[in-house]
Amino acid sequence: MKVLVAVKRVIDYNVKVRVKPDNTGVDLTNVKMAMNPFCEIAVEEAVRLKEKGVVSEIVVVSIGPKVAQEQVRTSLALGADRGILIETDEDVQALDVAKLLKAVVEKEQPNLVILGKQSIDSDNNQTGQMLAALTGMAQGTFASEVAVDGDKVNVTREIDGGLVTVALNLPAVVTTDLRLNEPRYASLPNIMKAKKKPLEMTSPADLGVELKPRLTTLKVEEPATRQAGIKVADVAELVDKLKNEAKVI
């Protein structure tokens, strides 16, 4: 079977972001960019399914500026077979991302689509669910275990109270949680090989999707900062402060 994996180029998770002084957004110039951590887990899961012999082909798709090719190449180095970059310099919102991915799904006809549960920049946690809705597929969100079983996939999901397992008809959409797997590193020979793998460039217009942003960001600001408090000398002082100063216990 064929798997489609969607990956996003985002600011590296270790970077402390800075809000632009004019409050129009976050400063991304000269900032280290990387593949969204949840997307790495999605690629890894697809590669593991291929290693198990369940999957025969892995197609990776990304949407973004030309430099997002780097993240597609990284996916190819990790074991994906071919890549697609939907090139656009616009800031594409979740619903439009889902519509673009739907167009790719219609073309590629994958049996399974794997995405990260959220991107660490916009923190939306929407795209997988929206894609599932638009394509009429079942969804297994926040997955910590994925087991393909004939024409179904069993997905164990992380929910507030614990875990729940659902059986989904294929084709289905799965979004990854951190616990699903531990992504591998790309080896140098694999990085070299990835340069020869096919990468198709396309655009929203080629796919017949018109971007229609519905949300306008009016302002981006720093959160209220917390001031560092005091250091206490010992446990007795701590308990005393909590009882008599902060009055929280």
Binding site: R214, E222, V239, L242
Partner: protein, 309 residues
Amino acid sequence: MSILVIADHENGSLKAATLNVVSAAKAMGGDVELLVVGENCGAAAEAAAKVEGVSKVLVADNAAYGHQLAENLSLLVADLGKGYSHIVASAGTTGKDFLPRVAALLDVAQISDIVSVESADTFKRPIYAGNAIATVQSSDSVKVITVRTTAFDPVSAEGGSASVENVDGAQDAGISAFVSAEIAKSDRPDLTSAEIVVSGGRGMQNGENFKMLEAVADKLGAAVGASRAAVDAGFVPNDMQVGQTGKIVAPNLYIAVGISGAIQHLAGMSGSKVIVAINKDEEAPIFQVADYGLVADLFDAVPELDKAL
């Protein structure tokens, strides 16, 4: 203008998060109606009718909704929701699961995890793990929104007298099925609504050592949380994780034990009223946000704290 709020409920009782979501919905302006959807949810619907400020309760009680499968819930909510100005749910795992699906079915955007209502179409929400706050305006006719419950004071669970109406029929997409669940059992308060939270990180070294935190938590009537490092190392189950990708908490008192304070952890607890850090590394970033910091070995400090309480 009416607002449809999807109630959070479990085992026949209404969850406290619903009261925070109703409070956020009221700030949007308009009539607030509550939808209770599930199987055998009559008692939750009765409780919903008493919630302050709710004008009507809709009840969709059917086996198809028994396990809150997103495929089925979203068909119902998208269908019912068409006539409302806002469709609102809490940003728990259920809301995050089905609501974007509703938004896509209605061909509208979703605004996730709002922390403030500026006006009927403008909201604030954290981005980049809470390191920036975006003010966003929606141009959609129906606003689909999830609410960060810790950012809104709850309305009263009593005093309302809403009418209760049944929603007939069931929407079953027939593409997914419940198999099994593994629900963590605990006598302690729910992590997201606890007044006090005691959390452990990598410094705890193993799961057995979490018993020390549990002893302190029991004396304080607190919930026990964990950092991702503690969850990944297998010390405790993942539903205890506090952070960007775990639960967002904002208790009166948060005690971080053996937690360095990575960006992703701070995203989940920096809204707490008072933060205490116990860490032997005085350079740990957690001390930059802690109101009270104790530089000490947790294996000495925690038993001492237990004794002192």
